[in-house]
Symmetry: none
Subunit: 317 residues, 2 copies
């Protein structure tokens, strides 16, 4: 018999990438998930050998999917012909298609058992669980942050930075890295930006700010004195001030013209709050950056490609 699905040289379907239609679900021949039921239904009409095969298939779809005709025949103590006959009886054109369906079924039921990722990370969690849980938590943090972000405030902050003479960013500890990340990006699109993690230098720099400049403070707790102080100075010098914080009611906001709220996820002993706050802050910072890049596209685009090219030589062949 010829290949059931696609003739080699001909033009079976002229549509390569288009998604296959979902509405017309399983018609009749390819049973999607009701395989076990089908086996029970058809069992009476099967011969002994075929029943053995059907039983094996229904019992361990995943395992059988990994077997060839010969393998399955050997496993069930029958012959290849019997296996093919069974596949036919179950409604498939041949063993090949049964096997394909089997693989799908296996994947399906494997995804069925949802890992309890809502749990906290325990000391004895296997490493695979740690990965799953962390990824899940960070995804959750991102969703929360996006949902809680005030786009009006963000828009105002974007406009301020896009039109600023210079932008100073304050952050210490983990937030300091976020501050640097933002700074790096702004520099890449040709803006003048600087990150400060040294409180003293931050304050002395803040004094130089004036109207038209922007100061951004990043602090999860909203009460980090080392970051509030320079922001206060900048505020009093007339600069536009922005606070990125997880505590929109914290002290830092009293000197902030615009407040961007980051989300606060539950923390645990093994998962310090710094982790999710960092994720959240980075998303906010990314949004800010992209917004600014949009607003200054004329200059941002060439600056981006220039910096990209400048780095090209630093890569080995």
């Amino acid at each position: 018999m010829k290949e059931t699905s696609a003739p080699p040289g001909t033009v079976p379907q002229g549509t390569p990438p288009p998604q296959s239609p979902h509405p017309p679900s399983a018609p009749a021949p390819p049973a999607p998930a009701a395989l076990a039921a089908k086996v029970r239904t058809l069992a009476p009409s099967m011969t002994r050998s075929m029943q053995r095969v059907a039983e094996a298939v229904a019992g361990d779809p995943a395992g059988c999917a990994a077997l060839t005709v010969t393998g399955l025949a050997g496993l069930t103590g029958t012959s290849e012909a019997t296996v093919v006959r069974t596949a036919r009886l179950l409604g498939y054109p041949g063993y090949r298609d049964l096997r394909l369906a089997l693989a799908g079924l296996a994947a399906h039921q494997q995804s069925g058992r949802a890992p309890a990722i809502t749990t906290d990370i325990a000391v004895d969690d296997p490493i695979a669980d740690v990965v799953a849980k962390l990824a899940y938590d960070e995804q959750q943090t991102l969703a929360d942050t996006a949902a809680g972000l005030d786009t009006a405030q963000l828009g105002a902050a974007v406009a301020a930075v896009a039109g600023a003479r210079r932008t100073d960013v304050y952050g210490v500890g983990a937030s300091g890295l976020v501050a640097q990340d933002l700074t790096q990006k702004l520099l890449r699109i040709g803006l003048i930006a600087q990150a400060h993690s040294d409180p003293h230098l931050a304050v002395t720099n803040a004094v130089q700010l004036r109207a038209g400049d922007v100061a951004i403070a990043i602090t999860h707790s909203g009460s980090t004195g080392d970051v509030i102080e320079p922001l206060r100075v900048a505020f009093e010098r007339g600069a536009t001030t922005v606070a990125i914080t997880g505590r929109p009611d914290g002290p830092v906001t009293q000197y902030a013209d615009h407040v961007l709220t980051t989300s606060t996820a539950r923390e645990s002993e093994l998962r310090p709050a710094a982790m999710s706050s960092r994720t959240s802050q980075l998303l906010v910072v990314d949004c800010l950056f992209v917004g600014v890049a949009q607003g200054t596209y004329e200059t941002a685009a060439p600056a981006l490609s220039a910096s990209y090219e400048a780095l090209a030589h630093r890569h080995r062949r």
Copy 2:
């Protein structure tokens, strides 16, 4: 060659891939659902023809699962050999197994929800859309990274760091911030760690490493000379070396005992690759950290609370 998948009575899988270039080669277990991610990760190292095949496969898993080698080759305008080569590159023993995985994936996503809108960010997108798209993309990046992360390699890296005399981390540019992030965390649980972004200092420090020490290089491109060089030195001094890179076939891996792969998302003009690579790298680093914290819980727990308390009085009332 005998049946690639499984002899009758024995274990189904467990077949390591054909060749391993170096001792630290990822076994690359048959990817279950991480296919799209894998395609993106490996795309840069593919040839044009192979990319066409990979694209078709990633674009329409269900459709491709129904095709034979010849059919897929015809559809993509390539040859059977190329299709098989692509399957190999994606980590499967041959096309047969890729097809099987494809069937599983198809069943998987048919049951799952619709894949969301994946439009690029445009210059004139309203700020709310920017937030939504960025959040979605970063979530996707996290999922891809988690799916593509080799837990065996991660476990090995965790063990190495947990037992290390000292740990050095190399990273420049955006990866430098990730390196600092990791370092900060490790310091917090009482380990000795240092981040280097100055290539010269990194090398001079690497010379001091010896067996029992760990060196970690972080580079998205996998070919950043400034980061490879210190890793090479550390490798030759006998330290355990780890590479965190988006290019598991890049130059950096030749000096790495363990390779942790980050995901590569499509980039656009307004969304530089650095953004998603950073997200991906951070997740990997977080996993590494939590793993190490688990392994050294006896000392990590008190160290964590100590550092927490030490910071408390830096917060304003």
